[in-house]
């Protein structure tokens, strides 16, 4: 495993409001390359809003206003075309959503197919195999690549969605509560996957599950009512939190 502490994503004074209602208040944090960074907090604290800012999906929400500076590899995300930015910053959603009209094979290649990027047959097969292997799905589906992705189980579908994001070779992968719609066994399987994937991609994981943050992340941010209460190494945060609110949240006093 690479032992670097390079900052890949730098968030400075990020504030977001929707129709004048503040959602995130002056958040500053740095995300390190090839680490899993968990963002935890009770429902409605702005976790999802925060990661949707990073790949500029906030553009889709009407009345949303973002201030502050977010830089990816030293470049402000507002200078990058959202279409190109989203190829560098992949996103996986809460509910598995493989495209219903596409086969497993086509789902992995969706970014290429939908963008009209031409690939030779051997390139396609190579990308599909590589991406499905990296999410541990290859052995399970290699004989059924022509079947629809929606035939898979929930956990498998979610891994297919991760493979679909990886096909663009993103620098950062945003996971928005990727296991909250899955059963415990699939959750455990996908958590293992997240730990493995950090060798190739930086992961930002949104979760409302405290123990999941403890299990998979290197660093944890605790968000409460739109404020960044605490951000530290997971091992430190879970043993000796500095802010009393973090302590109360971790011990289940609220949230």
């Amino acid at each position: 495993m690479k032992k670097n502490n390079r900052v890949i994503l730098d968030i400075q004074h990020l504030s977001v409001s929707i129709h004048g209602q503040p959602i995130l208040k002056d958040i500053s944090m740095q995300v390190l390359e090839n680490k899993v960074t968990a963002i935890m907090g009770p429902s409605g604290c702005g976790k999802s809003t925060m990661i949707r800012c990073i790949n500029r999906m906030d553009l889709l929400t009407e009345g949303m206003l973002r201030r502050g500076l977010v830089t990816l590899d030293g470049r402000s995300i507002d200078e990058i075309d959202p279409i190109l930015l989203r190829r560098q910053v992949g996103m996986v959603f809460q509910r598995p959503n493989p495209f219903p009209t596409m086969s497993i094979f086509e789902n992995v290649l969706a970014a290429y197919l939908l963008n009209g990027i031409k690939l030779s047959v051997s390139e396609k097969e190579e990308i599909v195999q590589e991406c499905l292997e990296s999410v541990g799905l290859w052995d399970e589906v290699k004989d059924n690549l022509k079947r629809k992705g929606t035939f898979l189980s929930g956990g498998q579908q979610q891994r297919l969605c991760i493979a679909r994001s990886l096909a663009c070779k993103p620098k950062v992968l945003l996971l928005d509560e990727p296991t909250s719609a899955l059963d415990p066994k699939a959750t455990a399987r996908n958590e293992q996957l997240i730990k493995k994937l950090k060798n190739t991609v930086t992961i930002l994981l949104v979760t409302h599950n405290i123990s999941q943050a403890a299990r998979v992340s290197d660093r944890t941010a605790f968000l409460y009512l739109g404020e960044l209460v605490e951000y530290d190494k997971t091992s430190i945060m879970f043993t000796s939190p500095k802010d009393p609110r973090t302590d109360q949240y971790l011990t289940g006093k609220f949230g």
Partner: protein, 280 residues
């Protein structure tokens, strides 16, 4: 004892209610079956290979047919579909995509009103718009009149099926760096494909039997015509002219044409059912 009798009264009431529901829902079938049986009885003797392949001839001559009406109807449906399908789908996408916009409310109201405009009025308006400037009745004007009737059906069914597609698919496409219009067309519209197709087929079934808008536009033609700028015959027009004629022979042909039209619409409806089964 008292409680027991109350329950049995309720049970009897329940039974009566269920009985009535079954009775009235089976009554729905009656008119349809009556129409169909009558059509087959009257139309089947007239229906023959000659009827489908020959042109109309004067009363008394053999081998009179309706081939020009069949071709005419198909040409009119093709013109109407060429205009209404792309436009209707685009309007449907607009209704789906810009729910908040004021324009959308106006557009939706327009579609609802257009759907309610009597077909004869559509015919008169297209007469003024197209027939008078071109100085001739034409297949083109008939197609435009029918397209106006198809438009609201396609637009609303496109919107409604797209509403059923989870927004998360569009988000997933956008998150992959897919441009907005590609996400809408290749992901949302393709996922809604069979529903949109159902709307199109239903709208074709609806206009196939329209007579009123064609009276002032397509007008009718004795001969075979493939020219879109010339008058053209359609099945409903032929039925209207022949059924009101004094000749028994022509009346028989009208029954045959009517049966053909009903069968066409019947097949389209079955096609729609098959499409929606496939969707599930």
């Amino acid at each position: 004892m008292k409680a027991g009798s109350e329950v049995s009264v309720r049970k009897a009431f329940d039974l009566c209610f269920v009985g009535l529901v079954y009775l009235f829902s089976s009554l729905i079938f009656l008119p349809l079956i009556a129409i169909f049986v009558y059509m087959v009885m009257k139309g089947l003797p007239a229906l023959s290979f000659d009827l489908l392949t020959h042109l109309p001839r004067p009363v008394g001559s053999e081998y009179s047919g309706i081939s020009n009406a069949i071709v005419g109807s198909l040409i009119l449906i093709a013109i109407a579909s060429l205009i209404a399908v792309p436009l209707g789908i685009l309007i449907g996408i607009h209704l789906y995509e810009y729910k908040q916009a004021r324009m959308t409310d106006i557009l939706r109201l327009c579609m609802d009103v257009l759907q309610g405009v009597p077909s004869i009025i559509v015919g008169i308006v297209v007469y003024v718009w197209v027939v008078l400037p071109l100085n001739s009745f034409s297949a083109l004007s008939g197609g435009i009149a029918l397209a106006l009737m198809m438009l609201p059906v396609i637009a609303r069914s496109t919107e409604e099926t797209m509403n059923l597609i989870l927004p998360t698919y569009k988000e997933a496409a956008l998150a992959l760096g897919v441009p907005y219009y590609t996400a809408v067309f290749k992901v949302v519209l393709r996922s809604a494909g069979s529903g949109v197709l159902t709307g199109i087929v239903l709208s074709v079934a609806r206009i196939a039997g329209e007579t009123a808008p064609l009276l002032f536009t397509a007008f009718g033609n004795q001969f075979m015509s493939y020219n879109v700028f010339k008058p053209i015959l359609a099945l409903p027009l032929l039925i209207f002219n022949y059924a009101t004629s004094p000749y028994e022979e022509w009346q028989a042909i009208a029954w045959g044409a009517a049966l053909l039209l009903i069968l066409f619409i019947f097949m389209l409806s079955i096609g729609v059912k098959l499409l929606s089964y496939e969707k599930k």
